[in-house]
Subunit: 357 residues, 2 copies
DNA sequence: CTGAAAGCGCTAACAA
DNA sequence: TTGTTAGCGCTTTCAG
């Protein structure tokens, strides 16, 4: 029976062991075991090499990452810091799961592993310092708060970082984001082209950057078309669209014929509440969301929405990080991804009677 | 060739730096900086101690985890291996996000961080060896396949591991799971008590362990009550309940008056398809799910379901792992969590006409 | 109370 | 082609 290697620290075979066993020097063993230099094939004789490899295999050797790290080689390890502090909810689930999937996939393919860092962000400058020696090569910061000191802190320490989904100005690091403004424009123009004139907007009550950008663009586009948006057409969900809000909106003297919401989660809630209120969609009310999350398909009727290519975005961010880590210079700019209008069944032309002023 | 600076190589102050700066020896600095022995308070003079601390603070010192690890101290780091290979879908989203939240929360409170490991599982024995020196103290394995070699491999290496959501027999490690059998019993008996006699079951087409256990218990309970389950009342979603299946089920000479599904996702699909088919729920058809995921609440009507305390389960698993890592012996048994029947609006007594044979 | 010294496992000059 | 050697930053006896 083979001798089972044990946990690190409990006598796992070391390079020294295999060197002794194979009758070569430590250095030779090292070179063989991790084809260090490209010319290593030449450096070590074929017989020696196979012998060493054989021993390494027999002993169940695997290099001690920690020791290797001490030599200031890259650790091939990414830090990931999610910034959705909210309790798990429908949005966070999908967003987080998608991002995680992308990051892990790309990292794995590139030979990196990813570890979570969730130290408290208050006192972020301090945290940043703490991260430095945690043994990661770079950080991916997911959706940090607008003025996150974590970003500036890490950046000032010269740690490679990429920011995802939070591309405010003056960001001290490269970032990846969807073009929220373009998406909001697509949504608004879609509705306008269908003939809607009275369009309401419902946003999350949290003042995230993307949320604001979507609302502002909505307002600009409406203005460009000479359409007025009454003050009370601008609502905030808490964070869902509740019956009262919708009833209020639809009970106005000149009710909206369409609603553009800041995300699919809110939109799908709105659809459901509307249906329970006996409002037919899209005949009596059009609703357009944002994200194209599973909520959009699951809604009944399925949502017209703005697709955000989250998976690709996260993959791109991860690749950028790895390139930075591997020495490439990447300017602290934002890579914008184009959103895409996905027309499903929750939007249509306003009915003649309602469209009439 | 140049060696690119890694995060930690960036000229961060070392213990040596602070020792020199404070005019003490390396050893003293070490003792002060990480109150090593319980009697360290005594070991170092108060003045020296404050001076060292002050310098450390001023220089922004933080210990190099890698170097410390070399000394075979615990690394305070957990490995996490998710086993949901499927593309991100609604179930995986919520399951994964909840587990991750629990694990990270508990780990953080205990001063551990968590890193993802997703090396290929085929060739698991090999992978296990590879994990050993990755610098983690223990592994949390989420929902491994029934005969995962990863589990046995890791176990044989004597690495502390805990398995979540996959408690088949002969497991070589402690595990945490919901009592699927009890849950299926609650669901089935709920339906029987409401007066249902013809109950169908729809499961995922994947043969996961929990799925099988739920179906088998459903059958046992039905048998205990002397109720027959025709062969064609046992269906598999692909993985959703499609129109045809439901139409088939309801079109049978003696159609079921209720359906118990293997999870909420399938149940919520079923509810929606039924509604589109013009079937009223629960008057004409009762549907009971499993999990109490967000899908259950989001369904219309909201689902009666079996609540699985996933967050607590994952937290418990993490705590167990940490206890193992810290030296406590934990027997390789399963800790079962009780499921709980949550009655909402998707279940009710069968209507008189349909209940009649 | 404090310092000197010996490594942890590995890599990379530099020798041979 | 191979071996020797000097650390990486830290902890920890063991002497002063």
């Amino acid at each position: 029976m083979e001798v089972l290697p044990t946990v690190q620290g409990k006598g796992a075979p070391t390079l020294k062991d295999i060197a002794r066993e194979a009758g070569v020097s430590l250095a030779t063993a090292s070179v063989v075991v991790n084809g260090s230099r490209s010319d290593s094939e030449v450096r070590v004789g074929e017989t020696t090499r196979t012998r060493v490899l054989e021993v390494a295999d027999r002993l169940g050797y695997s290099p001690n990452v920690m020791a290797r790290a001490l030599k200031r080689v890259r650790l091939n390890s990414l830090g990931l810091s999610f910034h959705y502090l909210n309790p798990v909810d429908a949005i966070a689930d999908h967003y987080g799961a998608t991002v995680l999937k992308a990051v892990i996939g790309v990292a794995y393919d590139a030979g990196y592993n990813v570890t979570h860092f969730h130290k408290p962000w208050h006192d972020a400058r301090q945290s940043a310092v703490g991260f430095r020696d945690q043994g990661i090569d770079g950080f991916l910061i997911i959706s940090p708060a607008p003025h996150s000191q974590l970003v500036s802190g890490l950046a000032s320490l010269n740690i490679p970082i990429i920011v995802l989904s939070s591309s405010f100005n003056q960001l001290a690091a490269p970032s990846v984001d969807v073009d929220n403004s373009k998406g909001a424009r697509q949504a608004t123009e879609h509705l306008v082209e269908l003939g809607h004139r009275r369009i309401a907007h419902v946003m999350d009550y949290q003042t995230q950057f993307d949320t604001i950008s979507r609302r502002d663009t909505f307002l600009s586009v409406m203005a460009e078309h000479g359409l007025m948006v009454p003050e009370n057409f601008l609502q905030s969900g808490v964070p869902h669209v509740d019956k009262d809000m919708l009833r209020y909106l639809l009970g106005l003297p000149n009710p909206p014929t369409a609603i553009f919401t800041t995300n699919d989660w809110i939109a799908s809630r709105a659809v459901r509440v509307a249906r329970n209120l006996g409002v037919r969609i899209p005949e009596e009310l059009s609703i357009v969301g944002f994200d194209d999350s599973p909520d959009a398909r699951a809604a009944d009727p399925p949502l017209t929405t703005i697709r955000q290519p989250l998976l690709e975005m996260a993959e791109t961010a991860t690749r950028m990080l790895i390139r930075m880590i591997e020495g490439e210079f990447i300017a602290p700019k934002t890579v914008w991804f184009d959103p895409e209008l996905v027309v499903r069944e929750s939007s249509g032309p306003p009915s003649a009677s309602r469209a009439a002023k």
